[in-house]
Symmetry: C2
DNA sequence: GGTGTTATGGACCGATTCGTCAACAAGAGA
DNA sequence: TCTCTTGTTGACGAATCGGTCCATAACACC
């Protein structure tokens, strides 16, 4: 019983995300936001409230996307759990290495810029990492059941370590660490995980990459991950 | 043969660092900077140029401090190299855990906010991580010579992994991960490093913390690290 | 004391900031 | 077609931004 909206909310949020993502929160102007989304400022404010609320919408959606993507990547049967973990770690390294614009990850960027002064952002990012940690824990437990990871190891602590390595890869990638080094970190992290004595799933098709010439690496073409 | 400055440049840079550190670059106003440093805007611009140049000064000094601190922590005889590595990793976790204000690390924050659009910041942060990696490599090589770390492992790759874990701890700390978990990540990372079969230096005074109840941890009071 | 040089402080400037508002447009129901 | 509700637009406003400028101050040297 009123005039319908002329824009698609998801599309606008996507455009807003791009802008916040590349410029950061403080450096993004609402005029630029209006230009990027194609909306007038009135529509923008009418639909999303102020700048902070718009960022929260964008940030929440981004976190949800990450959680969904990672959960989907790590879900599956026990006998492929270790392979999924390897694939995920490699995918993060590959996508970070592929980010030649060094835009990094909005989750990391937003957390770094705002978590100190914005409790909502801090809570959301903390919750996101918690969920990622749980997904990794579940996968590691599956790998333990299947005999790929030492069942005596604490799966939660391994998951925390893997998550830290992943975030470290992201941080180093933003600093400009070269692609080979990023991929090598992923391989090293995987090779250092405590394996079952009778593990059947290899980390990759080669010898343990930690020992021997460090330059040879698997080609491993992975789908880009938005993390 | 002219009027001398009334301020101490290092003190002003410290105050400027505090401000950039807690608010970020874009959200810091030069009026607030003048207030925080006690200088008039004329003096501020006369002494340091514009906002960007001032940030570069602050950022460079911060990176230099980190490099100096870490280098000092990791220097020493071979027989204590592994102990120094453990102490350093624990110190970073402890200082991140102690950062209840979640201000994080200016290197990480500045890199996240600016490296995409400021080549100088990107180069400086990349160089800083490179130096840290080399310091870790040298220390790990020493630990290998002394027989604490598997001499067959590639020390550079282990150093990259440790560096990634350290940056991951920082990132997770800023997201609000609790102190126990941060310390546990440090312990887990140390415990998965490939040890020499006849290693003499224990990672700590307990059994391997990765196996068994994950809640018990060493007290380990470390001096705060500015990282 | 005079002079030359640099430091200081804050008034000031044009540009830009976030957010508002009023005039107008587009549909749904009567 | 008229009304009512909501969406759209960009001009607008008050505040703030980074940066400049100038009157004044403080020294070193003569």
């Amino acid at each position: 019983m009123a005039r319908p909206r002329e824009f698609d909310e998801d599309e606008v949020l996507r455009a807003a995300s791009e802008l916040f993502w590349s410029a950061g929160y403080a450096a993004t102007t609402m005029d630029a936001m209006a230009a990027a989304t194609g909306l007038g400022k009135g529509s923008l404010y009418g639909a999303f409230g102020d700048k902070r609320r718009l960022f929260h919408r964008v940030f929440d959606a981004y976190c949800a996307d990450i959680v969904n993507g990672v959960s989907r990547q790590l879900e599956g049967p026990d006998d492929e759990a270790f392979g999924r973990l390897c694939a995920h770690v490699r995918a993060v390294a590959a996508s970070t290495a592929a980010d030649t614009a060094r835009r990094g990850c909005l989750l990391a960027k937003g957390t770094a810029e705002l978590s100190e002064h914005d409790a909502d952002v801090a809570a959301r990012s903390r919750q996101t990492f918690q969920i990622l940690q749980e997904a990794l824990t579940v996968d590691i437990q599956a790998a333990q059941r299947h005999g790929d990871i030492d069942p005596a190891a604490d799966p939660r602590r391994l998951a925390d370590l893997v998550l830290a390595v992943l975030r470290g890869i992201e941080a180093l990638g933003k600093a400009g660490t070269d692609q080979e080094a990023l991929r090598a970190i992923a391989e090293t992290a995987l090779s250092v995980l405590p394996r079952s004595p009778d593990a059947t799933t290899p980390a990759n098709g080669q010898e343990s990459p930690l020992i021997g010439p460090g330059s040879s690496r698997a080609p491993s073409p992975h789908p880009p991950s938005s993390l």
